[in-house]
Symmetry: D2
Subunit: 325 residues, 4 copies
């Protein structure tokens, strides 16, 4: 396993590696007009999974700085692109029912993405035959649950979801979560969708039992946005870049200065160095987040809720959504 | 059944009736120092249940205007009284585990009582053997869930609770809910606890399947606070009082004025009159609530959370609670 | 003065009166497509003011049930209509600067309209020459202040505004406030704009010094939405309607029943009757509000903020606004 | 000036310096029982001010890890210690009136400390002669204002305060603000009080005009709590410690390894190095904050509000406060 730093993005695990892994396929598409980059990472077998530190499955990452800005038209475009990728990731029958789960703690702003998405969904499972006439045949049965986090409920989040899924029998579970990234530039500017489910220890929370097809008995799609970078990861990356910058300067000076130090650092190995950094930054609960995180989380929740509303309800367009919520 | 007006308080159903019912026992205690009045209503059989419009069981009501005020010492005293009544209502073995359920919609202030109580609980079920040494033997296994309301989740609230209870196997469920009262003077000044569970259509929400021992498979204690009065109930009561006041004045004038009108009104019957009022006040979604409802709900949530924290954790006092939450 | 009941809407004062007042002009326009009704009430002199219980000035009321619903396209249409009426009410020079004041208590949901509008404004006064190039010449200098309420600040709201206006010298003050209406059907479905300023005791708050051209030294436009009905007003109106309904029934029965009672009630006079009702409903702090008030206030704040953003910034359209906030 | 890193704590500026400054006096007291450390830094003249990068005045810093925990008894003790230090910092006549100003943005959690303190104050200025009898002679005239931040109001914060102060004529202004520290261990565990006012660029906001005795015309006490560390400061400090750790290891190995690199780094100088780090961490809006920041800010607001309530109202004890708010 090559990942020593905290990231929930398959994309960033790949970036860390100098060469390709066997068992992992990567492909990239760009949409120049909107500045959107989409990367598909397919972990094909257990060998790839072991190297990536992530379970077998597909990981689609959409990157765009425009998510952080306030333009609702661009947000609609991003939601439409996401909806197309989601349809490619998982083919959903017309009459399938879906349980959307908003993971995370609604009282901790950067962890509140999941609950906020659930608040904006067009929820229909309870309507039964009471669907308004102009919407008949246009809606799938959608339910939504924000189970809270274990520190507040005292219950493993996966247990709550499993209990509710057994009562309500959805055909698909979609789990929304806040993630941790390695690069600050990815915070609130990246969306990852995966059919591999949500893994233990992911995100900001303390969830331990995985939420995936094996544990839930139905397919699980995970959709996440990195909202923080772990403080130790930030410090470590800054250190790396600093060393690289100084070495480059030293080499161009042709003095060789610093190479001994670099060797010492290099000989530590990635894991030892990260461990040293975390010893220095003793308070593990520190994370890095942008100043306007409250506003940005709210925008991202809108994008994801729109994506789900148009993806899950075949007869609803982005323009319709406002009318029915 | 004598109740034509919307109230969730057994106490108010009794007050409506001129004489006692067979199958219903009522007793009252007063605590003069704190101005607290405690009423026990026991519905003993199906005959009483039919007359009261409420299921068989015990209903303990604690009334005190001091709940609305901000004095934390009085709040602690009320929490202690409530804890004693709760112990009398349901005898809880030392090692019993408890699931507390916060019913209601956290985004509608007067309906947010249940979720707010859950936020303030000392939740312990997930600690297992990780309980701090000074707390060993002092804590019961407590979990807490705020399931949301059907309009937001698309799922019957009772189904969610049942699903989670099957996974977590609590010995007791305590359901916290906001209620509707008939008298505005009772808003936020009354707490009702019952071993009869929560019944369909109670409170402000749209819950239909009951949450009680039969549906959940374990005992259910319901704890509720009236936070609103239905607008039609208010108008109707005002009308009643107005007529009474005018009749009294008329009689003392010895003119007999108004008696015809009173007879017309009286001949309508309670149900017809209420139905006429609701036709006049066509918008059913109107309710009456005090101006400072946000602050008062927050205080009430504190009182109930303290009550539960000292009731459920045998080694925790009111003074300790702050230290562990 | 004819108004005995609590309403902040000039329109409702007029409705109470059987015939027209001298000194008051009323005209109405309807927009059939959107179901919008616009009423202009002009109080022309002190005689009219005395009869109306409101200061001399223009009061424009826009009524539409569509405000309460969630369709953003309709909201944009309403914002555009409002912007046109606002331009007719007060002609604003191209380079005029405006201070928008959000009156009310942000912690009391139905009183939080003003502060919520201020959160959504495109505020520009501080930009000076830092305006982005594509916006040059398109923006007026707009500032926004939510002063809080006297119970929280200890300061008369008008004093705070006056102090800030003296430092910042705006050409116009626009004050946003939550109002009380008489009819529940008008709650959250009516917007009143006036050039007469905000008067003492209006709304839910405890403001005593008026905020108008005389006290502030610059023109003041008040924009308000009724978000509550006083509980005593509700009860009184219900009583009125009840009596009318019964009398009608009695007359058609040709029995004459109830006329004595009606005479008693009628002989009380409006003020005495209202006073009797308020004695019956002793808790003055009760008001009537819809269940989904949190969501509706948020929508209304959007409509008003959009109205102001397109009204105050000549080069900004409804479509642009999202991009710049 | 020796400070190249972002800190608002005079204490941390002193720690950065190898030796003492002329014009700066430092003294420290410890309270062993509570683990509270109090440091007084007096900047005595312009020479000291230039070296410290902070204006002449007294800076009292109270440090205690217990602030972050939830024990209300310890919080009360800390409030009492703070109240005594505040009395020593500024002698307030018995009938003096005070305006408390909550700086910062209430919608950005780590910046919301000031507005949150204002919400919990016992505000009395508006009571005039309406003070309840049992409180007569026990209260000073206290008002409270949360002016918002310039990005939301369009107005310099100091202008708003100055305008309100001119209307209300307080004898003292107390400004509460969130600060930036250099060390993550100080976040939410340190309170600084100063009679030097609040300086431009402090905290998280964009305030430029100072709020002090010169600009306001009355004494200004600033009370602040560091709630964040700037991400570049964190990375830089981690780098420093890393180099020190490796050098130490290298020296004990007696190999001299790394000294060239250290010399390169050292030769950069503090300012150049910090500038290099900020180039690497390009997104300036990133900051480091603990995961439970929402809860911790709420506790700190309680401590500060209690401190002010018992400091400003001579007849009110910590135990009384709950009763009157």
């Amino acid at each position: 396993m090559i990942m020593n730093f905290r990231t929930d993005l398959a994309l960033e695990v790949c970036e860390d590696s100098p060469d390709e892994f066997s068992g992992v396929e990567i492909s990239t598409e760009e949409d120049d007009e909107l500045g959107v980059r989409v990367t598909w990472v397919e972990i094909q077998n257990e060998d790839g999974a072991a190297r990536m530190g992530k379970p077998v499955g597909n990981y689609v990452t959409l990157e765009s700085g425009a998510m952080k800005d306030g333009d609702p038209d661009t947000h609609d475009e991003i939601a439409k692109i996401l909806a197309r990728k989601l349809a490619r990731l998982h083919d959903l029958p017309k009459d399938a029912s879906v349980l959307v789960v908003g993971l995370g703690n609604r009282f901790v702003t950067p962890d509140a993405l999941g609950p906020k998405v659930c608040e904006k969904l067009l929820v229909t499972r309870h309507l039964g035959d009471d669907v308004p006439e102009d919407l008949r045949g246009k809606l799938r049965g959608v339910s939504a649950l924000s189970p809270g986090v274990m520190g507040i409920t005292g219950i493993e989040t996966a247990e709550i979801i499993k209990g509710v899924a057994e009562k309500t029998a959805p055909d698909l579970i979609i789990a929304i979560d806040a993630l941790a990234a390695r690069k600050t530039s990815r915070i609130n500017a990246t969306i990852q969708m995966s059919d591999a489910g949500v893994n233990p220890g992911a995100g900001l929370g303390n969830r331990r039992m995985p939420i995936n097809r094996e544990t839930m008995g139905v397919p699980v799609i995970a959709i996440g946005v990195p909202t923080v970078v772990d403080a130790a990861t930030l410090a470590n990356d800054a250190l790396d870049k600093m060393i690289a910058a100084i070495l480059e300067a030293a080499e161009s000076d042709d003095t060789g200065g610093g190479s001994n130090f670099y060797e010492v650092l290099h000989s530590l190995g990635d894991e030892e160095r990260y461990s040293l950094i975390t010893q220095i930054l003793t308070d593990e609960n520190m994370f890095v987040t942008p100043k306007d995180v409250d506003a940005v989380i709210s925008r991202l929740a809108n994008i994801l809720a729109n994506t789900l509303n148009i993806s899950l309800h075949p007869g609803i367009t982005a323009e319709d959504v406002g009318r029915y919520i």
